[in-house]
């Protein structure tokens, strides 16, 4: 028997692509094609529209950043900050019981638990601007609908994040509290809340960051704050003023976020 000098190595057969991956890719392509039809997507229009001269971009190139210091814009801006503060404080506080009552140990009553969970899910599925529009319809334009919108928006964000943290708590302290005869509230207060307090505070701060951003757009539907000024200038087609306000607003948001993020790092 002769052995060949170069031993041929049989390359193992390449595994076939998983049916799931193939089906997923095909589905994604089909969906892209269908959605492109649904919105009349066309590259020619896209290029044509973008290439056309327009006032929006010209305004962006010459933003009027002094606008924020004008009397009315400044008042609107302070209102935005205050709305974000109160909306976060109240909504954040309401989130804690809502998240606790959605857990199996925090709410042994199954129908009630389902009710709280459903409430949290529905609140979460309504976007911020829609809350604002609903409350504007219910109570009229002004700062109040903005505040109510931010209240519910905070609940959506904070209760979700807190609920996720609550899933991972150490059950030991809960058993200890129950063994020593603690009632439900006492058990939650002594065994659960201390475990999640740092994370929860950090989520509230995060909710504040999101609220601050959201509060800029609430005014677009009449819910007060800086957005109402942005909408005012947008309606008049004064894009330099629009962009001036937007840029200054985001400069402030950026600073607040820096502070908030460093606080959150310290918490967790």
């Amino acid at each position: 028997m002769t052995t060949p000098v170069t031993d041929p190595v049989t390359v193992p057969a390449r595994p076939p692509a998983s049916r799931f991956a193939v089906a997923g890719t095909v589905a994604a392509l089909v969906l892209t094609w269908l959605t492109a039809i649904a919105v009349d997507f066309s590259f020619a229009d896209l290029v044509e529209n973008l290439a056309r001269r327009n006032l929006v971009v010209e305004g962006l190139l010459q933003p009027d950043v002094t606008q924020l210091w004008s009397e009315r814009s400044r008042t609107a801006f302070v209102e935005t900050l205050q709305l974000a503060v109160i909306g976060t404080a109240t909504g954040g506080l309401a989130s804690l019981p809502l998240a606790l009552w959605a857990t199996d140990y925090g709410n042994p009553n199954v129908p009630l638990r389902t009710l709280v969970r459903t409430f949290n899910n529905v609140v979460r599925s309504v976007p911020d601007l829609l809350w604002a529009l609903l409350f504007v319809t219910a109570v009229g334009i002004g700062a109040l609908p903005g505040l109510l919108a931010l209240f519910f928006f905070s609940i959506a964000v904070v209760s979700k994040l807190t609920a996720d943290t609550l899933d991972g708590v150490d059950r030991g302290p809960i058993e200890a509290a129950q063994a020593s005869g603690a009632g439900l509230t006492a058990m939650l207060r002594t065994a659960v809340v201390p475990q999640i307090l740092p994370a929860y505070s950090s989520f509230v701060l995060y909710g504040f960051e999101l609220n601050l951003r959201a509060s800029a757009v609430l005014g677009l539907v009449g819910a007060g704050g800086i957005g109402s000024r942005i909408e005012f200038f947008r309606g008049r087609g004064e894009w330099s003023e629009v962009w001036g306000l937007v840029l200054m607003f985001f400069a402030v948001v950026f600073l607040v976020e820096r502070v908030s993020i460093s606080l959150r790092r310290r918490l967790v």
Binding site: F20, D40, S125, L130
Partner: protein
């Protein structure tokens, strides 16, 4: 026999005290300074009950078809926008990962992501509506541009977390730069990347429903118009369709995401293969 035990002093956390004080002060100042007729809050339950009645009391089911079509448009805006964002975010994220390119370049690309992430889609839509008119394209591009930042950030974080082993293996068998990416990096990150794209799609459905409220197409348009013209039944039905539609798409997309991350049940007995 009893002994007295002196309890240790309760620890004092200065930062916490200052933080609490500042927070309380901020909230109080806002409450006192804000120009809101707080007594209006007392009427709120009645207002909401009335709004609830007019919204959901008498649903115009003859509009069901057209509203579902509008919801489909919202979903389409979200999907196309997400795809456009992914198209830009994937290549950009490769040049934002410090383990794949140099630090200065990665830093520069990250700043682009940060700026894009900071702008709410609605603001982008405001800028795009005058350019594209009140069409879904304004919404598609607002979502497309707005999601590049978030997707890009998530992507480069995943890319920086890859295990170096497969890259070294590709090197060892003589792979060039492209082959190294194709065989050393892409297979490691593909499941997470695609699952994040789907997650972003879920987020963007909400964003696209909202952008309709200011005129950028989709079901938000119908709801906003209906509320403006006090056609409350249509608005109510539209809201129900938004909530149910969002939850339904979330459920499907979430199931696909979990399957992507979990992988086949067991490679040995993969019934899918």
């Amino acid at each position: 026999m009893s002994t007295t035990v002196a309890l240790p002093a309760r620890p004092v956390d200065r930062v916490r005290q200052v933080g609490t004080a500042v927070t309380v002060a901020l909230v109080l100042w806002s409450l006192l300074d804000l120009d809101i007729a707080w007594s209006r809050l007392l009427e709120l339950p009645a207002d909401l009950a009335r709004l609830g009645t007019v919204l959901f009391g008498d649903l115009p089911f003859e509009r069901f078809g057209s509203l579902v079509a509008a919801m489909w448009e919202s979903i389409a805006i979200a999907w196309l926008g997400t795809m456009i964002a992914a198209l830009f975010a994937v290549p950009l994220s490769f040049v934002a990962a410090e383990n794949l390119v140099g630090r200065p370049l990665a830093w520069a690309v990250r700043q682009v992501f940060n700026v894009l992430r900071a702008i709410p889609e609605v603001i982008l839509a405001i800028a795009l509506i005058p350019i594209f008119g009140l069409t879904p394209m304004a919404g598609v591009l607002a979502i497309g541009i707005g999601s590049i930042g978030t997707l890009g950030k998530l992507f480069y974080e995943i890319l920086e977390g890859v295990r170096p082993g497969p890259i070294e293996a590709a090197d060892a068998v003589g792979g060039n730069a492209l082959q190294r990416l194709r065989w050393g990096v892409v297979p490691q990150v593909l499941p997470e990347l695609s699952s994040f794209v789907l997650y972003r799609f879920e987020v963007n459905i909400r964003a696209s429903a909202v952008m309709g409220l200011i005129g950028a197409g989709g079901i938000g348009d119908d709801v906003a118009q209906a509320l403006r013209f006090k056609d409350f039944g249509v608005a109510g039905l539209g809201l129900i369709i938004v909530v149910v539609g969002t939850i339904a798409v979330d459920a499907v997309s979430g199931a696909v995401r979990r399957r992507i991350i979990a992988g086949p049940v067991s490679p040995a007995v993969d019934t899918d293969a």
